[in-house]
């Protein structure tokens, strides 16, 4: 391991890379192996599955697009279905960037590394970035998220065909571990009471909106629920005279 004093860039990059061996990274790798099996069953080629993984890098969007291509949807319908599921990236990145950048970070770097933000890397970095000196946070993130993306792309490339059918019980357990892990790590990384309340509100409001708006339930729960919690908190603070 290089020293943080002589080569801090390499030190923090490698420190981030250690995250590839964390529980959330392992769960994600299992899910990507499942995706490889799904693409094969859906009649996609290996190249298409690999391109989707590295190019989209968001499992829900990849699964929706795979379904759309399998069903023979036209490009506009597929675009709409995928883009609805990916709207969440806007508030995610808006919350992520101020934590990671310094005053000198160039925009192109944020745009480039922003591609590697997906739920797993988002939750992981929001949880751990505070222990990294600010000027090295993006380096640390790159050390985690870029190899994570590449490793999963390799898993899809190699897993395609080998895993013609992923054991259904195993994929069910993996599909369950993902939200269970996120639920706990989000709680652990939440800053203060407001974020925790926003978390609980999203947990309840999201499913409540599913029957009304099956495609945009998540978006509405985030904007509506998050805004409501923010306004109540602001009103509470203003009564105490802290705004």
């Amino acid at each position: 391991m290089p020293s943080p004093d002589t080569s801090p860039g390499l030190y923090w990059f490698l420190k981030g890379s250690r995250g590839i061996f964390s529980l959330p990274a392992m769960i994600l790798m299992g899910s990507c192996a499942g995706f490889a099996a799904l693409t094969l069953q859906s009649g996609l080629t290996r190249g298409e599955a690999v391109f989707m993984t590295i190019g989209i890098w968001a499992l829900p969007a990849q699964i929706i697009l795979t379904g759309a291509m399998h069903a023979g949807l036209n490009i506009f319908a597929a675009f709409v279905a995928v883009t609805f599921s990916s709207i969440r990236f806007m508030p995610m990145l808006a919350a992520f960037v101020p934590e990671m950048r310094t005053d000198k970070t160039p925009l192109w770097k944020l745009i480039l590394l922003g591609h590697f933000v997906a739920i797993t890397s988002w939750v992981f970095s929001m949880q751990h970035a505070r222990h990294v000196p600010r000027e090295w946070r993006l380096t640390w993130f790159a050390g985690f998220a870029v190899p994570l993306t590449l490793a999963n792309t390799i898993i899809v490339a190699v897993g395609y065909g080998v895993l013609s059918s992923f054991p259904p019980a195993l994929s069910a357990v993996l599909a369950f571990m993902t939200p269970v892990y996120f639920m706990q790590s989000m709680w652990g990384s939440a800053r203060g009471m407001v974020t925790r309340i926003a978390f609980l509100v999203g947990l309840v409001v999201g499913p409540a909106l599913t029957p009304v708006a099956p495609q945009l339930d998540i978006f509405y729960a985030g904007i509506g629920g998050g805004t409501a919690v923010y306004l109540i908190d602001r009103w509470r603070r203003s009564r105490r005279g802290t705004v």
Partner: protein
């Protein structure tokens, strides 16, 4: 155009571009926010509520074999894991293990 090339263009537009625009927009918005601003508290609330909604949806509306386990049992297993996580002094491994054991038992019973 060969159908093979077309499928890559299809993925690039309906998949890559459809997702990437939201990342770009998020970066542009986030780049204008300072960490301690009021707007930042709001964005953090929205992002957190949103991820929470994603989590709930993954538990309540799964695909595949997991959907065969009743929703109430799935929610119960997830919440039990969460309770263990809190009570064990935020040990994620303990919380996840309990939830996985419960869902495995439910899967074995259903299948």
């Amino acid at each position: 155009m060969s159908p093979e090339l077309w499928s890559y263009i299809f993925i690039a537009i309906a998949g890559v571009f459809a997702t990437e625009i939201w990342r770009w927009l998020g970066v542009l918005v986030g780049n204008r926010l300072s960490e301690d601003s009021e707007a930042m508290i709001w964005v953090r609330c929205v992002a957190t509520a949103l991820i929470a909604a994603v989590i709930a949806k993954l538990i309540l509306n799964p695909t595949g074999v997991l959907a065969e386990v009743p929703a109430l049992i799935r929610a119960g297993a997830a919440l039990s894991g969460f309770a263990v996580y809190i009570l064990s002094g935020q040990r994620i491994l303990a919380g996840v293990a309990v939830a996985v054991l419960l869902i495995s038992a439910a899967l074995a019973y259903t299948a």
